[in-house]
């Protein structure tokens, strides 16, 4: 606690715009300032100093501002397709996995039903399932995954998924 009221007032004047002061401290300060010319002058100087910062302004170079805006806009356009492509990649893959799982289950069930209906041996319909469903699907996957390599892509990016 400050014993000197002027020192206390000046400490509060300094603290008010930075850390802030309590309503009680503000009330005490206001009362003190009405009676103390020296501290009032100190408060006015502090206020002028802060106000001075607000008066100072740079002239904006509109050409430079426009250039920055144009370059940022160009960059947004450049990076945006990559983000969209990645999103589409995961969407298509998710859908493909769901369809493959669902389709495989359906074909398996159908094979089982057909083998019962026509009294076929299990190995017959299971072989038909592997040759007619699983192998073509795997071949298609391999072809899509390594299309660059298999189709003679010259950029050395064979096997690229995207």
């Amino acid at each position: 606690m400050q014993s000197n009221p002027h020192a206390k007032a000046q400490e509060l004047i300094d603290r008010a715009p930075v850390e802030g002061i309590s309503p009680q401290e503000q009330t005490w300060l206001d009362t003190h300032l009405t009676a103390c010319a020296e501290c009032s002058e100190y408060a006015a100087t502090a206020e002028r100093t802060i106000a001075a910062l607000g008066k100072f302004a740079f002239e904006l170079d509109h050409d430079a501002a426009f250039r920055v805006q144009a370059n940022v806009r160009r960059r947004v356009v450049e990076i945006r397709p990559a983000a969209w492509e990645a999103r589409n990649f995961w969407l298509v893959n998710g859908a493909a996995i769901l369809l493959t799982a669902g389709g495989s289950m359906a074909v398996w069930e159908a094979g089982e039903w057909a083998s019962r209906a026509w009294s076929l041996p299990a190995w017959a319909w299971q072989t038909a399932f592997v040759m007619g469903w699983a192998v073509p699907s795997m071949m298609l996957c391999i072809l899509l995954l390594f299309r660059g390599l298999l189709l003679g892509n010259q950029d050395g990016k064979g096997g690229s998924v995207l």
Binding site: P17, V18, A52, A57, V68, Q69, V72, V76
Partner: protein, 192 residues
């Protein structure tokens, strides 16, 4: 209809959340507006920090490029300004270190601040010239603390976040900066 729905969604979100969402989606129109809206403030902060107008102009662009790269890191839970200024500050410090490595023998005060200072160059009146000279004479971290507190109106916590300093250090810098500025403006000799 879609526009109305978007406007309704925007109204439900706070401003930082809208900024975070649009940055993540790389919303070109919104980012364009954001760059325009913050251009002057970012430039002013960087001029206060570096005391070099041209360098500050370059850093403004670098800052936005970095904002685009790190868009996912801004979650919209706090205000955008501290995050933006923090990125700008890191880039400015990297740039200053790089310059120092390239020109290790160059005296720091080779260029007289009164002649080439961007503050003096910007001064349009006698009053502004006096303020400019006082600002040019201040150390960079005092100027930085003053611009963030009194022009950007950031809280002490936010300034601490930008400068990676304790709140007590931030408060002390503002007090010292104000005292030095006051001393310059009032023509006092005992600033320190």
């Amino acid at each position: 209809m879609a526009a109305a729905l978007m406007a309704f969604a925007d109204a439900l979100e706070s401003e930082p959340q809208v900024i975070a969402r649009c940055l993540r989606r790389r919303d070109a129109v919104f980012i364009d507006r954001l760059v325009e809206q913050y251009h002057y403030r970012l430039l002013r902060y960087l001029v206060y920090l570096t005391a070099r107008r041209e360098q500050a102009e370059d850093l403004v662009q670098d800052t936005w490029m970095r904002v685009l790269e790190r868009a996912a890191q801004y979650d919209g839970r706090s205000r955008f300004e501290p995050w933006l200024f923090s990125i700008a500050r890191n880039l400015a410090i990297d740039e200053m270190r790089r310059r120092q490595r390239m020109e290790p023998d160059e005296p720091a005060e080779r260029v007289a601040p009164e002649t080439y200072s961007p503050f003096v160059a910007a001064a349009k009146s006698e009053d502004a010239a006096r303020i400019a000279a006082a600002l040019a004479a201040l150390e960079a971290f005092y100027r930085e603390a003053l611009v963030l507190r009194f022009q950007e109106e950031l809280s002490l916590d936010e300034i601490a976040q930008v400068t990676h300093s304790p709140v007590s250090t931030v408060a002390s810098r503002i007090h010292r900066g104000l005292a030095q500025l006051r001393a310059h403006l009032e023509g006092s000799k005992d600033a320190k």
